[in-house]
Symmetry: C2
Subunit: 356 residues, 2 copies
């Protein structure tokens, strides 16, 4: 864990700062291991300090990497920063994407002897490249989610409401040890599947329609993310064609996921396949996103993404076709970029599957 803070410290000179004040709790967790709800970290070349309040002292003693000096402060933790820095004249970076204007004003009042410098994405960039133990955690979360999915589908979809199926899927993940779902599961049958962010309804899944299921488990803080589209009986040939087109696009994009590939280029491969099939205007979202301690993080695979993939990136590959008022198809895998390509972490079959 300490190695993470070391890597961060190595990057500080390039960012023009001496010390980074880490206030985003997910970044704090990444660097220190702390999972509570009030804690901050200071990282400099020779500085590793974690600060929390009295409520979390016991938890911090158990969780926080021993490479960090652990301190206790007033409940408003920013009050402890100046003292922890010990000296003046420092350029102190703060996380401008996560600190509110109010907190920033307060911090400026509290720090008389050090200069505040806005930074963006320093820890997030580190987080984008997973260490082997992180990939292992995501792999375990994905396997757990896959098992829960198999259990759900084994019980049949037709005749159950989307809401009840989503609840069951969530329960099956929790029962297997997931802390929570990575996000509220999507179960969307028939025309409802044409909404990429559909919420499960109190409507029963019918026989002979396509059902989009998008779900993930969070385990030890790490998320999984997967989508499958299943058929509840015979579906018409147009829908089968669309399914095969999405699958073709997904497989083509997976071929492109490798070190040095650029996010926008990977997106383009899937998009070109879908456009050639006549459904370009029905694929209204990006191809994929990074997954880790958050279910949406760097790097992105989209038409606007300059991200250059590197071994250890974990990303989703999830093209979709959404035909308003009719149906939707999305097929999503979670993959880790390897030395020469990628490895798929999700294991559910992708050929069109008919279920009860």
């Amino acid at each position: 864990m300490s190695a993470r803070a070391d890597r961060l410290a190595d990057r500080l000179p390039q960012a023009g700062i001496d010390v980074l004040l880490v206030t985003n709790l997910i970044n704090v967790r990444y660097l220190t291991g702390y999972t509570g709800s009030n804690g901050i970290a200071l990282v400099g070349s020779d500085l590793r300090t974690f600060i929390t309040d009295f409520r979390y002292v016991v938890q911090a003693a158990e969780e926080v990497d021993p490479g960090f000096d652990r301190r206790r402060s007033a409940q408003h933790l920013l009050e402890g920063v100046d003292e922890a820095l010990e000296t003046g004249g420092l350029r102190l970076g703060f996380e401008a994407d996560h600190m509110s204007v109010s907190e920033h004003a307060r911090l400026r009042e509290l720090l008389s002897r050090n200069e505040l410098v806005a930074t963006s994405g320093l820890v997030e960039d580190l987080r984008a490249v997973k260490q082997p133990e992180e990939v292992a955690a995501i792999r375990t979360a994905a396997a757990l989610a896959d098992e829960a999915f198999a259990e759900l589908v084994g019980g049949g979809l037709t005749g159950h409401t989307e809401h009840d199926l989503a609840l069951r899927l969530e329960y099956e993940m929790r029962r297997r040890g997931a802390e929570r779902p990575s996000f509220d599961p999507i179960i969307a049958g028939g025309p409802h599947g044409a909404l990429p962010h559909a919420r499960p309804r109190d409507e029963k899944v019918r026989a002979g329609e396509l059902v989009v299921i998008d779900w993930g488990a969070q385990l030890d803080g790490y998320c999984s993310d997967c989508t499958r589209t299943l058929a509840t009986g015979d579906i018409d040939s147009d829908a089968v064609e669309v399914y095969e087109l999405v699958l073709e696009a997904q497989l083509a994009a997976l071929e492109e996921v490798e070190p040095e590939a650029v996010g926008r280029d990977v997106d383009s491969v899937a998009r070109a396949t879908i456009t050639a099939g006549g459904h370009g205007e029905h694929f209204g979202h990006g191809l994929g996103h990074g997954v880790g301690l958050e279910v949406h993080e760097a790097p992105r695979l989209s038409q606007l993404s300059d991200a250059v993939l590197a071994p250890g990136n974990v990303v989703t590959v999830e093209p979709g076709i959404y035909i308003p008022g009719w149906f939707g198809v999305r097929i999503e895998d979670l993959v880790v970029v390897t030395a020469d390509g990628c490895e798929i972490l999700t294991s559910v079959p992708k050929e069109l599957t008919v279920v009860d």
Copy 2:
């Protein structure tokens, strides 16, 4: 719903602004009804504008109060603000507690002709006083949570792990229609109950101990919150004495909850009772907090709170005694301040109850 924006507009002159830019999604929901994940609102004396991106246009059409002009913008919604304001020379308030330093810098770039003014708590102050339909929503959430609790306890606690009991309780709330729990439920047996923020463990509840259960349901966005401490068989007389002391403090504090009462004074009544009983140092948190669209909101009942209670405030009253290494007791009700006192919204009995 429109009435809420009207009340907000009435307060803007006093805050020294012409228009408030509302970016906090819970505040946006309160004012407009929108429940999606990307939306902002502008409220001025004659201005009611809601802005979202293409992904949420359908949802906004269904949800957003028709008193608001609905607009569609680029995905980075702040880009739509200047155009929606139409004129220049305005003092535009922003929510400084919720807007990041990065967003603020971006907004400053985008707004050439209007002045930005930091504000704090304008919508939160409105939210602290619930309208009748909000109290009704909280009442329904509390009743649902109480039913789930009865179901859980009816199945017995002893021999089940805290984790499994928490999962069951959550499931029983979800099955009854809760969107989610208000927070991760706490089930803490024996010495674990001495941690006010205990997380459920993979340890079985034993016979003859006190078990702290703190739970709530979220329904139509509104939260409930309740705590009971149950005995799994005979417990020793010291523990019974502590239980009775907490209950006495809780009942005394409830007597003080009425219009014009000050947060700190209500806290003091419970604290004085517990201190007189010799456990002052074992009550390490505030007496209570407001509950609504968030499970922790204004007003607070604590030693530092200047809040003056008013009819429509919904607050918890939850004294506790925590004896490290031995046990904890907390008894919490959710109440609404009425014209001449308060009404309790939680219905689970409070006398010391022995369960399996």
